[in-house]
């Protein structure tokens, strides 16, 4: 009965992004309910807004990118991730179909490159790639183009020469322009390893440590639900997953959704555990890009805990 369920308010920074899919899928397959939770998902315009909402107390838990827990430490706030459901970041650096002559990162110098918003994970990702390649990040003009239709339009019309994008936007473009040039595709493990030298966490559930301390039971239940969902996810085909998702999240083009899901499947972690190397990679990346974060000496141990996910794995008998 609903009365027995604890209500948890989860803020998502853009529910349409496939990177956050497990959050919604858990609701659809009844994983939250099974674990005694009633989850209310609020959709926010971006990850930073979701984070702000949690810090301000209007939501309990964020389903968002892990890197925010790193960035926020520079502001003397601590947020702790307790389930990492993406083991790859899913960021793609694609070249506009209108632009010719861009074959490598070097060719981007002096060009306009779109990111979802200046200062966002996509922005940092771009700068990290450039720096790693030995280019000056200041040599490209960064333009905020959002994540969805705006980004697609900007690429299609050649308003930007390249852009960092996420799915399903990448798949939309790939379907329309089959030969789309991708300079980096971290939806694949290979590219992720090449770029970051290890797994690199994308979407996680995180919350303030004192909330976790006060809500051990609920946190564990969330972790349990999430790991169950991940297991379910890997046990089903993209078509079956798409069938479970609500229409408004699948959108009008089911084929496209399934296609996007296919390329995203590798992204989802089967265990919900954080890879320490990956977490450290995030800190390194951001310390390089942002002097404030470098100064803050981010404490890795505060940014995540594998305690809950490990317990969930144990319950389900998953071997790590």
């Amino acid at each position: 009965p609903a009365a027995d369920l604890t209500t948890i308010r989860v803020a998502v920074g853009g529910a349409g992004c496939l990177c956050y899919l497990p959050t919604m899928l858990a609701e659809q397959i009844g994983a939250y309910k099974k674990n005694g939770l009633a989850v209310e998902i609020a959709n926010l315009k971006g990850g930073s807004q979701a984070l702000t909402a949690v810090l301000g107390g209007s939501a309990d838990v964020v389903s968002g990118y892990f890197d925010h827990t790193v960035v926020i430490q520079a502001k003397q706030k601590v947020l702790t991730a307790f389930v990492a459901y993406d083991r790859l970041p899913g960021l793609v650096l694609a070249v506009s179909p209108k632009t010719t002559g861009v074959a490598s990162l070097k060719d981007l110098v002096g060009k306009k490159v779109g990111v979802s918003a200046p200062g966002s994970s996509t922005d940092f990702f771009l700068k990290y790639l450039l720096r790693k390649d030995g280019d000056d990040p200041g040599s490209v003009a960064v333009i905020g183009v959002g994540l969805d239709a705006t980004a697609v339009a900007a690429m299609e019309q050649g308003m930007v020469d390249a852009a960092v994008m996420l799915d399903p936007a990448v798949t939309v473009l790939e379907t329309k322009y089959p030969g789309l040039k991708l300079l980096s595709d971290t939806r694949t493990e290979a590219d992720t390893l090449r770029v970051f030298g290890g797994q690199y966490p994308g979407g996680v559930l995180y919350a303030p440590p004192d909330w976790i301390a006060k809500h051990e039971k609920e946190t564990q239940a969330l972790a349990d639900a999430m790991v169950e969902t991940l297991q379910w996810l890997h046990a089903h085909s993209p078509e079956e997953i798409a069938a479970k998702m609500p229409d408004e999240l699948v959108g009008p083009d089911k084929k496209l959704y399934v296609a996007a899901l296919k390329s995203a499947m590798a992204m989802y972690s089967p265990t919900g555990l954080m890879d320490e190397k990956g977490a450290q990679a995030v800190i390194d990346l951001f310390s390089q890009s942002d002097p404030d974060i470098a100064k803050a000496h981010v404490d890795l141990s505060k940014t995540y805990t594998n305690r809950f996910a490990a317990a969930a794995d144990a319950k389900l008998g998953i071997k790590n």
Binding site: I41, Q49, A53, D148, E248
Partner: protein
């Protein structure tokens, strides 16, 4: 153009430049609608308009039909309308009240004038996260956003409307020993009424904008939420369907305002 409304007794002569006839107006309105929609549909069919970005009228109609049949839309619409109406009422009442106070108390107006202008120039949408902070992710933050839009529109018009009062009429009431309250009620408010109503037409739209944008930035339900989600999955049809439905509803509310205006301003000479 006539000096006043005349009674047409049927046998009468033709009257020059009368109000356009209702049936003609309706016919033209429908014509405009049909032309626009047909152009859109045709443009999409011929590939001039990319349906990926602009959808198709037929799809939108189908989507609206689907929503109405499944009842998917009602709870979202109800939330958005409640927010918009609350924002409208709160913004209007506070705008009129502050407009009155500022117009009547010169010192207040002089001192706070720059502050009001600064607030009016603040991009509220950027402040939305702060509003969410204060008011949470529920209705309150959307209402607050709407109020920040409505307030200024109503405020500036009320303020100016009050200052437009005919000084002779005002002096007449003062000589008839109207108290300050009575002056407000019997002179300033009725005199400013045309101004206030003019701002209401703009602000009902902005109240809805506030609600929808607020939901768009962060919410768990409402039209803005629906639209944001649809935008995230490239469902342009739903985006347009949501926008069109809300506009239609505002149109109905605005009609109500128009009726009220006609009643309250029936004392004015018709032009």
């Amino acid at each position: 153009m006539r000096m006043s409304r005349l009674i047409d007794d049927g046998t009468s002569v033709a009257v020059t430049s009368a109000k356009p006839r209702l049936s003609l107006v309706t016919a033209l309105q429908i014509l405009v609608f049909v032309v626009l929609v047909a152009a859109w549909q045709l443009g999409a069919a011929l590939g001039w308009i990319d349906p990926f970005f602009f959808s198709r009228p037929s799809d939108i109609a189908a989507k609206i039909g689907e929503w109405l049949v499944t009842g998917y839309l009602w709870p979202h619409l109800a939330v958005t309308l409640t927010e918009a109406l609350l924002a409208f009422v709160i913004g209007t009442v506070s705008g009129v009240a502050c407009g009155l106070a500022f117009a009547r108390i010169e010192l207040l107006a002089a001192v706070f004038d720059p502050y009001i202008r600064i607030l009016n120039a603040l991009p509220r949408v950027i402040l939305a996260p702060i509003l969410i902070l204060w008011f949470g992710l529920g209705m309150a933050s959307k209402v607050a956003l709407g109020v920040t839009l409505v307030f200024f529109i109503v405020f500036f018009n009320t303020f100016q409307g009050i200052r437009e009062v005919d000084p002779v009429v005002r002096n007449n009431a003062r000589m008839l020993q109207a108290s300050d309250r009575q002056l407000l009620r019997h002179v300033y408010l009725p005199s400013a009424m045309a101004w206030i109503f003019s701002s209401l037409h703009t602000s009902i739209g902005f109240a809805l904008v506030g609600a929808v944008v607020g939901e768009y930035i962060g919410a768990a339900r409402g039209i803005g939420y629906v639209v944001a989600q649809a935008q995230g999955v490239f469902d342009t049809t739903s985006v347009f369907a949501g926008l069109i439905l809300t506009s239609a509803v505002v149109l109905v509310i605005d009609l109500g305002i128009h009726r009220l205006e006609r009643h309250l301003l029936r004392w004015r000479p018709r032009i």
